[in-house]
Symmetry: C2
Subunit: 135 residues, 2 copies
DNA sequence: AAAACTGTAACAATTTTAATTACATATAAA
DNA sequence: TTTATATGTAATTAAAATTGTTACAGTTTT
């Protein structure tokens, strides 16, 4: 099961960018995704750690963007929320007595690193503004 | 948890390419990965469906390559074993009453399609021979 | 003081993947 | 022709990862 962190975070940022002057509550944000508000707050915690948003506690509290949508790229979001794209591994430790088993994971890792570099380059060219303009 | 199909299939093909004249058993192949032989046989069934390997049942049976390692690319394996690379979705159906919720999945899909096209182009340039030469 | 939020932790439920078991069928070789 | 050793596949169980839920402390506005 692939985690929804990237999608949730991008969804949050898209909503925040549509209402740049308001503090939006986690319940409102969660309502747009139809998920639990706690999940939203977890991703907001991550966004705050990276200084992308700022929150206000208490009544009428919520979250808003802390920087311009022009200065956020999808690669920033990717790096904040996604470990690494992978095409998977055979789950157990491969047999070190086998020449292939011994080196398979390092060769897969090298391949996956190449893939991730390409994806990053691709996402770096897409600003959050460009993405949110599609809505 | 990301499935190991791609990695298992690539591992199988790497081993088969190292012993191109022998029929290798699922138990031998599984031993190199330290996984259950049934998982190997499932991936072999998929490889057979795509005419990449041929098997022999019964005593001294096993599997061997059905085509040259030069004519197999990592993209072939990717397409055979991996639905699609994705950065995930917010799991539930987003709110269709929200302008962002209504269109988020189609915009994510478009983004992920672009990513997959880039990955395919990248993998198309790597032959199985090039990969197996690393061992 | 009350109401409405955020911030977290702990735990339960769900979903996906892998392992295991079982057995029918096929083939080589003794 | 019998035995041993494979494949092929279905069904079930186990394990791992993600998501949902509950609970509650802390904060801020009214």
């Amino acid at each position: 099961m692939i985690s929804g962190k990237f999608a949730i975070t991008l969804h949050i940022l898209t909503l925040l960018s549509k209402f740049p002057d308001e503090y939006l509550s986690s319940e409102f944000l969660a309502g747009s995704m139809n998920i639990n508000p706690v999940l939203v707050r977890k991703e907001i915690a991550n966004l705050k750690k990276h200084n992308m948003v700022e929150s206000r506690e208490g009544k009428n509290g919520g979250t808003r963007l802390a920087k311009s949508v022009k200065n956020i790229t999808l690669d920033d979001i990717f790096k904040m929320t996604f470990q690494k794209v992978s095409l998977g591994y055979a789950k157990n430790d491969p047999n070190p007595a086998c020449p292939v088993g011994k080196k398979i994971n390092q060769n897969l890792d090298a391949l996956y690193d190449d893939i991730n570099n390409k994806i990053s380059a691709q996402l770096k060219d897409i600003s959050l503004m460009e993405f949110t303009d599609k809505f």
